[in-house]
């Protein structure tokens, strides 16, 4: 295992921490029928932060990202992004919110199979406002795909497809990049390329919320948030792999004396 610092001090402790939060989640609840995927999740995201969102399968990570990205609606609670409460937005406002403020990167890439790499990037411009081919070419050059502009997704490797997806996510200069296991389908070398791109984005001041199961990838982030059964169980900004977990009331677990389990029902402060 590597001994490199878990958090790069040059980027994790930026002065942005002093700014007002870019994203505020307050007591977020999402229910699918009788299943509660998110159970009162609350936290803030400062501008320029790179957050690794971790947790076991079914813990509510993707649900959280979907709500934050305006793809899904919360059952209750509030999500404020750049001062705008997105839980109150109608469908047309959500469309505008997604196109202007959010850049999505998915595990499955989700490129349009019959559009070339260049056209996939331009598609995001088209839905945002107006297409600019030279800008799209530049975005693909930045992710190292200058020679793959006219390739269809089927002719690209997984890593190349993910880089197209990243170029597409960035083309409209979103305030927030939401990445749902962006390296989940990639081999090691492509994973390194993609993570390097995210590192550069972070250094450039982009705010990133990335779902990952991979601790090594999470080490690149400036902050780690962990969900378990819809509860926030860890939120730390440094040496987070050695930090104790937090109970639903934010106290260290299990030595806090607060809870015997991480189940909020059995937790009594």
């Amino acid at each position: 295992m590597t001994t490199q610092p878990l958090v790069n001090p040059s980027i994790s402790l930026q002065p942005v921490a002093q700014s007002p939060p870019q994203v505020v989640l307050e007591n977020l609840v999402k229910e699918y029928g009788t299943l509660r995927a998110l159970n009162g999740v609350s936290f803030n995201i400062q501008p320029g932060e790179w957050i690794a969102l971790m947790g076991p399968s079914g813990s509510g990570k993707t649900t959280l990202i979907n709500i934050l990205g305006g793809l899904d609606t919360a059952t209750s609670g509030r999500v404020t992004v750049n001062g705008q409460d997105i839980t109150r937005l109608g469908e047309s406002d959500l469309v505008r919110y997604r196109s202007e403020k959010i850049g999505f990167v998915f595990q499955q890439f989700h490129l349009v199979p019959y559009l070339t790499a260049l056209e996939n990037v331009m598609l995001a411009q088209y839905f945002h406002s107006v297409t600019d081919e030279s800008q799209a070419v530049e975005a693909l050059k930045r992710v190292g795909l200058a020679d793959r502009l006219e390739h269809l997704p089927a002719k690209l490797s997984g890593g190349e497809q993910q880089r197209v997806a990243i170029a597409r996510a960035l083309i409209n200069q979103p305030k927030l990049i939401l990445a749902d296991e962006p390296t989940g389908n990639l081999d090691e070398s492509n994973e390194a390329i993609v993570i390097n791109i995210f590192r550069e984005l972070h250094q450039a001041g982009h705010t990133i919320l990335m779902v990952t199961h991979d601790v090594d990838i999470a080490r690149n982030a400036s902050r780690r948030i962990e969900l378990t059964h819809g509860h926030l169980t860890l939120d730390t900004t440094c040496n987070f792999l050695e930090q104790p977990k937090l109970c639903p009331h934010g106290k260290p677990f299990p030595s806090s004396g607060c809870c015997s389990t991480l189940d909020s029902k059995s937790c009594t402060p």
């Binding site: 979907n66 196109s99 839905f127």
Partner: protein
């Protein structure tokens, strides 16, 4: 910055990709739309042409008053030819056209071969007209136009079926015998009409009267009277008073029967067209259902990156309109050609291409394509999160 032309260019680019994403399916959809357009255009063309043809036939068959002898007349079955001359050549609505006919059964043979005599109807006719099509059948009009150019002065017109049963091809004379009198005539073979003319011989009235020994007599007089039904009725009333042993009657009932037949044929063709278009829409819908299933993820992604339902729908509807237009343009052209061939095969006369049918067929095909794209229209209601969760 706003640059609509760049977005229009991107719109066209996406459309082109959508259309050619699956060439096999594009071919199937175009084939379905073209086939639907072809059949509907063929039926519509036949329908429009039938209407025009019936109108034209009424006009060419022309006469709307027929004068026949009363049963109580002195010479039962015949009228005096003088009546023909006495019928006025104008009424208050315009020119009156008239033709007198004398019918008789004669023996005919082809002297050039040894085949025996057969019975045939000889029709002697004489006419007065401004517009020949108002009192003569189209075949006889053609004969009238050509008769002055025929090599022999002694000629007659023979219906196509009769000519072929006698082995007449135009060069051989026709021998006509009535009792002990016979005459050899050169022949003009009439075009096929599908009517009784195909089995008849047409000759000048005066010669026919002599051959049949019916001098100054005719079997009936047909008159084309212009004007309203009231004006025609007044004309008939005047004839009745002038010729007490003749009976004049309008041919309106005949026209009404034709109109009813046309109405039924028209209804049948309309129903067949609607049925074909409905089948086409179902075929297109089946193909579009497959496409919709394939595009669910793409639509989810488009909406996730900020595509509104309206803009995504615009893409799909434009795709459907283009498919409908291309299918319609190809199919309607093929259909009109088909209707001409069908008309020739079924009725013996090619249906004339009606230009109005072309845009109507194309428009109907576009509507069918839009209806067939219903599964794609529903697709824009998908929620991205549901798609990405793999629930839909």
């Amino acid at each position: 910055m706003n640059n609509p032309s760049a977005n229009r260019s991107m719109f066209r680019r996406i459309l082109r990709r959508l259309l050619f994403a699956n060439r096999g399916r594009l071919f199937v959809i175009l084939l379905a739309l073209s086939a639907g357009a072809a059949v509907s255009a063929a039926l519509l063309n036949l329908q429009v042409d039938a209407k025009r043809r019936l109108r034209a036939e009424f006009r060419s068959f022309g006469p709307n008053v027929v004068i026949t002898p009363r049963e109580t007349s002195r010479d039962a079955g015949l009228l005096s030819e003088s009546y023909f001359d006495k019928i006025s050549e104008r009424n208050d609505a315009g020119e009156v056209s008239k033709a007198a006919f004398l019918y008789g059964v004669v023996k005919v043979s082809n002297p050039a071969n040894s085949s025996g005599e057969i019975n045939a109807v000889l029709v002697g006719y004489s006419s007065w007209y401004v517009h020949p099509e108002r009192v003569l059948s189209p075949a006889l009009v053609k004969y009238e136009e050509r008769s002055s150019f025929l090599s022999s002065d002694i000629h007659c017109a023979v219906g196509q079926k009769l000519a072929s049963s006698l082995g007449l091809k135009g060069a051989e004379p026709l021998r006509i015998r009535s009792g002990a009198t016979s005459v050899d005539l050169s022949v003009f073979v009439l075009p096929v009409t599908g009517g009784p003319e195909d089995n008849q011989i047409f000759w000048y009235l005066f010669e026919t009267q002599r051959l049949l020994a019916r001098t100054k007599s005719v079997s009936q007089i047909q008159v084309s009277v212009p004007g309203s039904p009231q004006q025609i009725q007044r004309f008939i009333d005047k004839l009745q008073s002038e010729f007490p042993d003749a009976s004049g009657r309008p041919l309106r009932q005949f026209s009404e029967a034709q109109a009813k037949i046309y109405s039924r044929i028209s209804d049948l063709l309309t129903a067949a067209t609607a049925f074909i278009l409905a089948l086409t829409a179902l075929c297109v819908m089946a193909a579009m259902t497959n496409i919709a299933a394939e595009r669910r993820n793409d639509v989810g992604m488009m909406k996730a990156i900020g595509g509104s339902a309206r803009r995504v729908l615009n893409l799909f509807l434009t795709e459907a309109v283009i498919l409908g237009l291309v299918g319609g343009l190809i199919g309607a052209a093929a259909g009109i050609a088909l209707s001409m061939a069908l008309g020739k095969a079924v009725f013996g006369v090619a249906a004339a291409p009606r230009l109005i049918v072309y845009p109507i067929s194309v428009a109907l095909t576009v509507i069918v394509a839009i209806l067939g794209a219903y599964p794609l229209r529903r697709l824009v209601n998908v929620r991205p999160a549901t798609i990405f969760r793999g629930e839909a």
